[in-house]
Subunit: 149 residues, 2 copies
Amino acid sequence: MIQNLNEHQKEDLQEALAHGGQKVTPQREVVYAVLLAKRDHPTVDEVFQRARESMPGLSLATVYNCLETFVGCGLVRQVNHERESTRYCPNLAPHAHFRDESTGRVHDIELPDHVLTTLRSLLPSGFETEAIEISFHGHTKNSRNHTSN
Amino acid sequence: MIQNLNEHQKEDLQEALAHGGQKVTPQREVVYAVLLAKRDHPTVDEVFQRARESMPGLSLATVYNCLETFVGCGLVRQVNHERESTRYCPNLAPHAHFRDESTGRVHDIELPDHVLTTLRSLLPSGFETEAIEISFHGHTKNSRNHTSN
DNA sequence: GTGGGTGTTTAGAATGATTCAAAACCTCAA
DNA sequence: TTGAGGTTTTGAATCATTCTAAACACCCAC
C-alpha cells in the first residue's frame, strides 16, 4: 500500500500544479505518491495497478491524465518520448538523432568515437552495453523555411 | 518512383541476408531501395506508401517483415527501439537510462554536466535542443540473480 | 518434370497502448 | 443556489504492430 505524501512532497505537487492553474486532487496525490514510492520506471498500467490499491475507484484514463499533467508541469519525466511510429534508417555509422519538434523531421548527428567512449565509461561495472541510443529534441532555427530533405 | 538498387547495393543486401540464411526477394529489394532513396527516417507506413509505387501488390505486413529482417541482419537501424509502454520516473536530475534486456529493468545513469555539454556541442548551428534522451541497452552481469528493487 | 520442404508473402483478424467523447462530479465564487 | 471550471469516469475509437492461416515461390532430390 502506498504511503501518503509527506508535507514536502505535497508542497512540490501543489506548487508545480499551481503553475498551470491546476489543482491538487486526491487522484493526483495518489498517482504522484506511487511514482515516488518505487522508482522503478513503472508503465502507466503499473502505476494504475499500484494506485488502485489505495484508491480502488481510480480509472486508467485518470492515470493517463495525471501523468500527462505531471510531465506538462515538469514534475515527472517520460522515459519514452518517442511514442510515435517506429522509424528506420540505413545509416549504420554510429549517430544520434535530432528531432525537430516543429516539423517532425529527424536529422542524423554524427557521433565521434570519444563521445561513445565517454558515455560507456559512465556505466557502473557489470553493465555491458550493446547499443546506445541518443536523441535530441528541439527546434531548428528557420525550420519553417527548410525545404531540404 | 524508386530507383532499382545498383550492383553494389544489391550485393550488400544479398550478403547481409545470406548470414541468416535468408534470400533476396523482389519485395526486399524494393523496401531496401526505398530506405536508400530518401534518408528521411520514414515510418513503416511511409515506406509502405513509397514502395507501393513500384510494387502495387505489396502488403503492409511484408514491409514489417522486411524491416524486421533488415534490422536483424544489421542492414538498417531502428530509430525508435522503445516501442513498449511509456515509462515514467520522478527523477528530474539529468540522467540516462540503462535497460537490461534480460530483465526489462531500467536503471538510472547519472549524467555529469560535461557530457551534456559535449553532446550539445555536436549539433550544427541553428539546432536548439530542449531535451536529450540517452538510453543504453544491454545486460548486467549476474542479472539473472538480481533480486533487488 | 514432379513432389516435398522451406522460407516468404498476403489478407485480415487480433492485440495492446493510448486517446477521445460525453456525461457525471466537485468546488469555488457570485 | 446557480454556474463555470477544471477533473474524473466509462466506454468507444484509433492506430501501430503482431499474429494466423492460407497461398506462393523456389530449390533440390528423385
